[in-house]
Amino acid sequence: MRLEAKDIRFRYGGGSGARGGDGRSGWVLDGVSLSVEAGERVGLVGPSGCGKTTLAKILAGYLAPTSGSVLLDGAPLPARGYCPVQMIFQHPELSVNPRWTMRRILTENWTPDAALADALGLEDAWMNRWPAELSGGELQRFCIARVLGPRTRFLLCDEISTMLDAITQAQVWRLLLDVAEQNRLGLLVVTHNPALAARVCTRVVEMG
């Protein structure tokens, strides 16, 4: 299985004359191509503002490219139903519904088994709590667990351990690598940390 971005161009606002907030020309992405095979873990590094997050969002189907295409095994991403391409964000508090309990957030798409919940340290006592009652690190572990279901084929990880401490970061990545291996997931790993990229990726792509 292969996830592909083909000649992606992107700018906000769509029309001509759109400008980024930093005053440069409007193109956030200008003809970017990239592919990730099942079982591969591709690191994506580059300076801030080079469009790494934008590219990940386009690959996940959250953003439509201005031109170019995203293909999953040669076909567009499914427009309805569960998307086999899932994204985990840097700030979990922005990617969960604040009015849902943790149990509902966790089990929206699948129900992780006890072993996985245990490996990620998801405590029973948290299940009936609201997102605002958990720390960022605790929330992030829920956000990871909820996308590790059997229907996920590709994971786009955007600085997902940037706000975790070193021990939790190593715990979370060890687990992610295990699941990725078992399920032959393809991973795109956006990170600013070269040591982390060297540890978790099979190859690294530089942008910008």
């Binding site: 930093d22 300076p47 801030s48 840097q90 009652e133 021990i167 970061q169 715990q171 040591a195 982390l196």
Partner: protein
């Protein structure tokens, strides 16, 4: 802990900031609720000397941000605070803080919502003591385009908002203490380096810099010393060089585990989680995860003590 407070004639030895066995608990949330436990701190001790950059590292929930809020006097009303906070040898009272904040004491908060949503960015940066020229200079240095000044906070990206916060703290004033609470998330490596250089310059010019960060790698390149927090207590104070050299030079079993888990070291995590400080009883907070624990660690007081030029809160560290 040394008591520097009565030492008025040797100014170089008076810390810019001294935090002595600081504790914070929250009453109104009700006992034992997640949020109150999450934010409580039990015993934080550290000092920041003039000319020094001290980095505070530890898991989220270790008390890092509560420390910044306690120092800056912006804890919520239901917080009960114990211990002492001294700025240049004198207690940092609310009145003193009011006069010093934004002049001698610069605060770079974590939450970008400290920006006034209704005020144009350039006016916020100029504030009450900056000038238009100073604002333009600092914008140029942090690659903020002039038109950003005419925007409102909601129009900024996270990284831009953070740069604006820094500009707001850094413009004007005679800064003697910088308190930065997670200043770098959302910034790329180049801008992180720029901001860290700026903190280093503040320290080299004689200010004390307290840098609270989850980004150990980044901090180690610029810090003089590192304070390691765990479950609301300071477990170790070490030099940045000791920390960078990996686990062996460190004093506390948690600091060693922390260093060993870094991707450039073994990337090897110890099992288990940090407990909430608010839910802890007596004894060492690291007890349940410590491979070197003995029976006496579970009960008695574990005081901070001097060891090998640093400090450690462990009964059996050598």
């Amino acid at each position: 802990m040394h008591d520097y407070s009565n030492n008025h004639n040797r100014h170089a030895t008076v810390p810019a900031l001294l935090v002595d066995e600081l504790s914070v608990s929250f009453s109104m949330y009700g006992r034992g609720t997640a949020k109150a436990d999450l934010d409580a701190i039990r015993a934080l001790s550290l000092d920041v000397m003039p000319g020094e950059l001290l980095a505070v590292v530890g898991a989220s929930g270790s008390g890092k941000s509560v420390l910044a809020h306690a120092v800056m006097g912006i804890l919520p009303k239901n917080a009960r605070v114990g211990g002492r906070i001294l700025y240049r040898g004198e207690p940092l009272t609310e009145k003193r803080l009011g006069a010093l904040r934004g002049t001698e004491i610069a605060f770079i908060p974590q939450a970008v919502d400290y920006l006034d949503p209704l005020m144009r960015v350039d006016r916020q940066v100029i504030g009450t003591r900056g000038t238009r020229a100073a604002q333009e200079e600092i914008f140029a240095r942090y690659r903020l385009a002039p038109e950003v000044g005419r925007q409102y906070p909601f129009q900024l990206s996270g990284g831009m908002a953070r740069r604006v916060l820094f500009a707001t703290a850094a413009v004007g004033g005679d800064v003697k203490l910088v308190v930065a609470d997670e200043p770098t998330p959302g910034l790329g490596p180049d801008l992180c380096a720029k901001m860290m250089n700026h903190f280093r310059q503040f320290a080299d010019a004689g200010a004390g810099v307290l840098l609270i960060t989850h980004d150990v790698d980044l901090a180690l390149g610029y810090a003089d010393r590192v304070a390691v927090f765990y479950a609301g207590v300071t477990v170790e104070i070490a030099t940045a060089a000791e920390f960078a050299s990996g686990g062996a030079a460190l004093r506390h079993p948690y600091s060693r585990a922390f260093a060993d888990a870094l991707p450039q070291n073994a990337f090897r995590p110890i099992p288990g989680r940090q407990p909430y400080a608010g839910g802890l009883g007596k004894g060492c907070p690291f007890f349940d995860r410590c491979t070197e624990r003995r029976t006496d660690c579970a009960s008695g007081d574990v005081p901070m003590r001097a060891l090998r030029g640093g400090k450690v809160r462990c009964l059996h560290a050598t």
